[in-house]
């Protein structure tokens, strides 16, 4: 059987690295789900995808918080967070934001979230093929 490939296929970006910087927190729920959805898709495309949460964004990752964050499109944020984690997105939270801005106690973040410092953000941004900010 003949192969019927389209004339122009989108590039296969597997193996590239994307850093997504997330600054929006629970104060604007409808701005929160698209980054998780997009990150989940990127990871499914085998793009090495990292989300870095700073300012009020780490509050989204406090256990139970996303479950009670309703979205205009229906459902809650937790399903999008779970989708991203299941697809292999790495979650990094800024330790300074967690401590000084969000008052997040130790152990309150979802399993799978790693606390890192600001220097890590510089490393990740310089190593990534692309940086996206929300």
């Amino acid at each position: 059987m003949a192969t019927t490939e389209p004339a122009v296929r989108p590039p296969d970006n597997a193996g590239k690295k994307i850093l997504m910087i997330m600054t929006t927190g629970p104060e604007d729920p409808d701005k929160t789900y698209a980054p998780f959805y997009t990150a989940a898709l990127m990871a499914a495309m085998e793009i090495d995808t990292t989300m870095y949460f700073l300012m009020h964004a780490p509050e989204l990752l406090v256990k139970g918080r996303a479950d009670s964050l309703p979205l205009k499109k229906g459902g809650n944020l937790r399903m999008f967070i779970d989708m991203a984690l299941e697809n292999g997105v790495k979650f990094l939270a800024c330790s300074e934001s967690c401590r000084d801005l969000c008052d997040i106690p130790e152990g309150a973040l979802l399993d799978g979230v790693k606390l890192v410092g600001s220097a890590t953000l510089a490393d990740l941004a310089l190593e990534a093929d692309s940086v996206i900010s929300f």
């Binding site: 389209p6 495309m45 299941e86």
Partner: protein, 149 residues
């Protein structure tokens, strides 16, 4: 054809059911054809975009062969067996709704040539597949319907 909770589950197919994956495999000579099951398309909702790995791509079992987006779900379609992509179904890339309306027919996603044909026999089939689907349909409260338009 078995119908469970309104979901069609053709008896002759093999099934890959792990984590978020619910795909079917149809053996066709030395090749396999792969697609989403009726429960999978129902759970995803109206599918908006599909991107399939190009012909010639070699995939190990467990690696993505496609990505699917529905607005409420975005994720990979995992290769249920190792092999080489022989043909990506261009029709579903152009009309992703085929995965909803005809998941076992025109909505097939990819044809592969398995490099380890014995992996097909390791997939779920017959009563074992049905038992697994019953468990998932009940647990996730899935009732199938064909999304039109």
């Amino acid at each position: 054809m078995t119908i469970e909770n309104g979901c069609e589950l053709p008896d002759e197919l093999y099934y890959f059911v792990e984590r978020s994956q619910m795909t079917w495999v149809r053996v066709d000579g030395g090749e396999v054809r792969i697609g989403l099951t009726d429960p999978a398309q129902t759970r995803a909702g109206k599918i908006l975009h599909v991107r399939v790995k190009a012909a010639g791509t070699a995939r190990e079992r467990g690696k993505p062969i496609a990505t699917v987006e529905s607005g409420k779900w975005a994720g990979p379609v995992i290769a249920p067996v190792s092999g080489e992509v022989v043909e990506a179904n261009v029709a579903v890339e152009q009309d992703p709704g085929l995965l909803n309306t005809d998941p076992y027919g025109k909505g097939w996603i990819v044809r592969m040539r398995p490099t380890h044909p014995e992996e097909v026999a390791q997939l779920l089939h017959g009563p074992a597949a049905l038992a697994k689907f019953r468990e998932i349909l009940q647990r996730d409260n899935i009732r199938c319907m064909r999304c039109q338009g």
